[in-house]
Amino acid sequence: MGVDNKLMGTVVTGVIGEDVHVVGIKIIERALNDAGFKVNSIGAQVSQEEFIDAVVETNADAIFISSFSGHAAILVRSFRDKCAEAGLGDILLYIGGSLLLKEELWEEVEKKFKGLGMDRVYPPGISPTRVLEDLETDISLRRRVSK
């Protein structure tokens, strides 16, 4: 990945809502960076609008939303629509963290957040390598489609 110094893509990363949990996303940022992605990190406690602005600015391929408040389902409501309104209909939306307040079957959680417009949903403790693999697949697919 990214061995020949070619840019693999651009990703906007941040922690949504009133949430301050940044350790996880900082790790993911490092992994993205090392794998040859451009990372536009907008930090903790950011809103949907701040994410969208950052994408428009950098023409990013994906948004990485981190959320540990347990309020993720409320916080990403209509995010997909807002992206579309901003002309970012095909942006990749990834979400990870501790998404709900109660422990639920992972299949259910994943379904719920896919229903909310997320392309990929990750449980806590996910390995950065897995995420990178998925991202590469999704980006090349997305590019092929938009060609």
Binding site: V22, L101, E103, P124
Partner: protein
């Protein structure tokens, strides 16, 4: 301008008027004397300081962990269950994250929805929305002290409500909160809110109700302990200046027991030393054991092992508080069963270890402690120099120049240059000392330990190593 100076009574009460106006429930607690009387009417051992003194005398270590549900009914049920089934000696309290961000309106909406649906829609207790009467009801619903145990950039109204409600403990740790609890708050603003809370604690204490302040000093894992200790000592300087007399000193473990015990010793010894240096001779410390902020294991079995380490460290450092996290930590807000199991395990381990004579190799502890003491002194002495003797004025400059640093801070003000890494035995070393004012031999000592690891694994340290260190405990290893 930033100064470590006690608020005058006038300044304090003037500020208090504004604070109590932030939300309607504020006006219920205007009368501080009434609150003080209320505290005095409670059984003595419901006071946190009394209970911690009792623990110290009787060689007890009490487990505590964060806990909070949206509705008071569910919250009290959680407490009563944990007290009964988990045999808890203390109960921790976590306000929800909206309350911590002073978004009381948001918390209100979520609370309403929780009441409507009968299911907690918040990640903690919305203290301010509930108001003082409800907090008193909660305090009276159990037999043990309730310890608010949380951070926020501005906890003034929340802490005022909690203390008026009968709690005698909170955690206004400026450097814990500045780095970790807000993305954008300025140090100046955060210092002023913390001075207020500590002045309030001091006020109660001066009027016969001893209140304990926790110095959390918690850093995300993989930050060497000396930097954590320097931050914590500065935070305590703020606390005691405002009149706080009882400090719960968190001693976060990373898992290598030589280092963990050495750090706790250095932390408590230097704290007393700097306290005396700055003229504070009557402050009592209660060591508090916990793990550094890190990923907890997803598996229940491995999580019990973390509870065990946490308790063992408590035993080794002579702690009174065993600040644990439940076996559900990595996954969700704990249920009452999660709480009870975990408390019970911690309690039984404590019962088993209480009178045992366990030691960690003394020679190794002394060596480790000696290095660490030098590191902390380098940082603090530089800061006192920068501030012309004022720890907070110095700290403000140190944050800008990266002498106080945090690579995993939520706050954007952090230089983020210092980096830590584990050595072969799981102790944390400086991989990058950033702008820390360390003498050369310290830098080289750490480098040596890191090279040792590189040789052992036959591979250079890289960011994968850093990640693996941050996650190793959650995978069930000290170091991989």
């Amino acid at each position: 301008m930033i100064r470590n100076k006690k608020l005058s009574e006038d300044e304090f009460f003037k500020q208090r008027e504004e604070v109590l106006e932030q939300w309607p429930t504020g006006k219920e607690i205007v009368d501080l004397d009434e609150a003080i009387e209320y505290h005095k009417s409670l059984p003595p051992l419901k006071n946190a300081v009394n209970k911690l003194k009792y623990a110290k005398e009787h060689n007890e270590i009490y487990a505590v962990c964060g806990a909070g549900k949206a509705t008071m009914e569910e919250h009290i049920e959680l407490y009563q269950y944990t007290e009964k089934e988990g045999q808890a000696d203390l109960l921790g309290l976590s306000p929800d994250s909206m309350t911590r961000q002073n978004n009381y309106e948001g918390a209100r909406r979520a609370l309403d929805e929780s009441i409507k649906t009968g299911e907690s829609k918040l990640n903690g207790l919305p203290v301010v929305n509930h108001g003082v009467a409800a907090i008193r009801k909660m305090v009276e619903s159990v037999n043990v002290p309730v310890l608010p145990r949380y951070g926020a950039a501005d906890a003034r109204l929340c802490d005022d409500t909690l203390l008026a409600g009968g709690c005698s403990y909170s955690a206004p740790d400026i450097f814990m909160d500045f780095w970790n609890q807000h993305a954008k708050v300025s140090l100046e603003k955060a210092i002023s809110t913390h001075q207020y809370v500590c002045r309030l604690m001091g006020y109660y204490t001066e009027h016969g109700v001893p209140i304990c302040a926790a110095a959390q000093g918690l850093y995300p894992a993989a930050i060497p302990p000396s930097l954590q200790t320097a931050n914590l000592i500065l935070s305590v300087m703020l606390q005691v200046e405002q009149g706080v007399k009882y400090i719960s000193v968190k001693c976060p473990a990373h898992g290598n027991l030589v280092q963990d015990v050495a750090s706790a010793e250095v932390r408590c010894n230097l704290l007393q030393l700097y306290l005396k240096k700055l003229g504070h001779h009557d402050v009592e410390l209660f060591p508090n054991s916990s793990f550094s902020l890190m990923q907890y294991p997803v598996e229940v079995g491995a999580n019990f092992a973390v509870v065990f380490m946490n308790t063992l460290v408590g035993k080794l450092i002579g702690a009174q508080i065993n600040d644990i996290r439940t076996v559900a930590e990595a996954k969700a807000i704990p249920t009452k069963e999660d709480m009870a199991y975990t408390f019970r395990t911690a309690k039984v381990i404590q019962n088993f270890l209480q009178t045992q004579k366990i030691n960690i190799d003394r020679k190794e502890i002394d060596m480790e402690a000696q290095m660490e003491e030098q590191e902390v002194r380098s940082i603090l002495d530089k800061i006192l120099e920068l501030g012309d003797g004022d720890p907070l004025a110095g700290a403000a400059k140190a944050v800008v120049s990266g002498i106080l640093d945090n690579p995993f801070a939520a706050n954007r003000a952090a230089a983020g240059k210092v980096l830590g890494i584990k050595d072969c035995e799981g102790a944390i070393r400086y991989y990058d000392t950033g702008n820390l004012p360390f003498p050369k031999e310290i830098v080289e000592y750490h480098k040596g330990k890191i090279i040792e690891r590189e040789i052992k694994r036959g591979k250079k340290i890289d960011y994968e190593t850093l990640i693996s260190d941050l996650l190793s405990i959650s995978k069930g290893y000290l170091v991989q």
